[in-house]
Symmetry: C2
Subunit: 228 residues, 2 copies
């Protein structure tokens, strides 16, 4: 596979982190630190120490830590949509395509060696726990106007279109998709931290297959399609 890179919305950053070694170090270290300590504990100061650069240098790439988080998360959704497009190529049946979407969404990610400075496995965990913090803020509307949520909206739209193919009469395709995207994140989190809110067990080796079974059944039954 060729080396790929995603060009993200330039409003996300002041200087493109993919364009320099320091920028790539920032991304790599940010993923590591947010993964291990959580977004609240994460500061540009700690990031600077991690990469051996002054705090002020990080500020030349990102206006603030919120934008940096958005960058990571936009990257993730862009990457996931890319994977979905890749897998669904030449598949005629919308049912199969929809099933694929759920599988790819839920599947535990492994590190993609084609993109050296992003650890996709850690990034998936970051998306699980931090995603909603990107939009549950005072600045949603201005961030939205700047297009900072486009990758997620694009993914939602794509999957909703498949649902419309299957059942053009179903009145809530976008709501259904945003619900399963959200639920996918949360069920995994619940399994680990609030197990009484879910029926998916952490220890189970088929954690991810159980989750995709839950989500698939929900989607297919809701839109009135036969689950094979």
């Amino acid at each position: 596979m060729a080396i790929i890179s995603f060009q993200l919305n330039s409003n996300l950053y002041l200087r493109d982190p993919q364009s320099s070694q320091l920028g790539q170090n920032i991304i790599q270290a940010a993923v590591k630190l947010i993964y291990t300590a959580g977004f609240e504990e994460f500061t540009f100061k700690k990031l600077g120490i991690e990469i051996g650069s002054p705090e002020a240098s990080v500020y030349r790439y990102f206006e603030n830590k919120h934008r940096l988080l958005l960058y990571l998360i936009d990257w993730y959704w862009t990457w996931l949509e890319y994977k979905i497009d890749f897998h669904n190529q030449n598949i005629k049946s919308p049912l199969d395509r929809l099933r694929n979407c759920v599988l790819l969404l839920v599947e535990e990610k492994t590190v993609d060696t084609d993109i050296p400075f992003v650890d996709e496995q850690k990034l998936q965990r970051i998306v699980n726990t931090e995603f909603e913090k990107t939009y549950l803020t005072r600045q949603v509307d201005t961030d939205n106007k700047e297009g900072l949520f486009l990758p997620y909206k694009s993914l939602c739209k794509k999957i909703a279109a498949i649902i419309k193919e299957i059942n053009p009469k179903y009145p809530f395709p976008h709501s259904l998709v945003s619900t399963i995207l959200l639920s996918a994140n949360h069920q995994i989190y619940y399994a680990e931290h609030l197990p009484s809110l879910t029926d998916i067990k952490t220890d189970s080796k088929q954690k991810h297959s159980k989750l995709s079974e839950f989500l698939s059944t929900m989607v297919f039954n809701t839109i009135g399609a036969k689950v094979r």
Copy 2:
């Protein structure tokens, strides 16, 4: 109706805010400030100014602002479960009870004059946007051990039990309930801020009835019950 009050987990506070005028002022002002400015902008200093008391006085009631938010949100879920119990009394059909749950969950709250120091309408909006911030933190596990999420878990369990009555073979009752509880919050938020993620329109007068239609259809179809 009698004047009711809910006794919440004492780990939430240092001194029970329901027990004094100052405590009630704190709750009332906190709801107002978090509602208008959001949890991130909310500080004990601003709260102190609002009620004309020093910051330090607030700290005598709540260890920190996170616990105060948890207090409000626990109060909300406790109140909602109380309302559900009240409405579902003597209703035999589990289908009807489940339908009631969705309606009560989604319904726009009006101020309950029986509880003078809590503005339920504002509190519902707070729950919509801030709920997940209570558990998507580093301290989930310790907070959970202290029982700070019990009201939400109890509600989830209660609705899951109704689902089990309807279809004892459905394997994911808790996951389904936590999914709809979450989705109810988010669809409303999306309608206002990220409309392309939902099919529910803000301006529509039947916003709440559309949402309950969406959720009910999803639940009933998923568990294989007939939607009347």
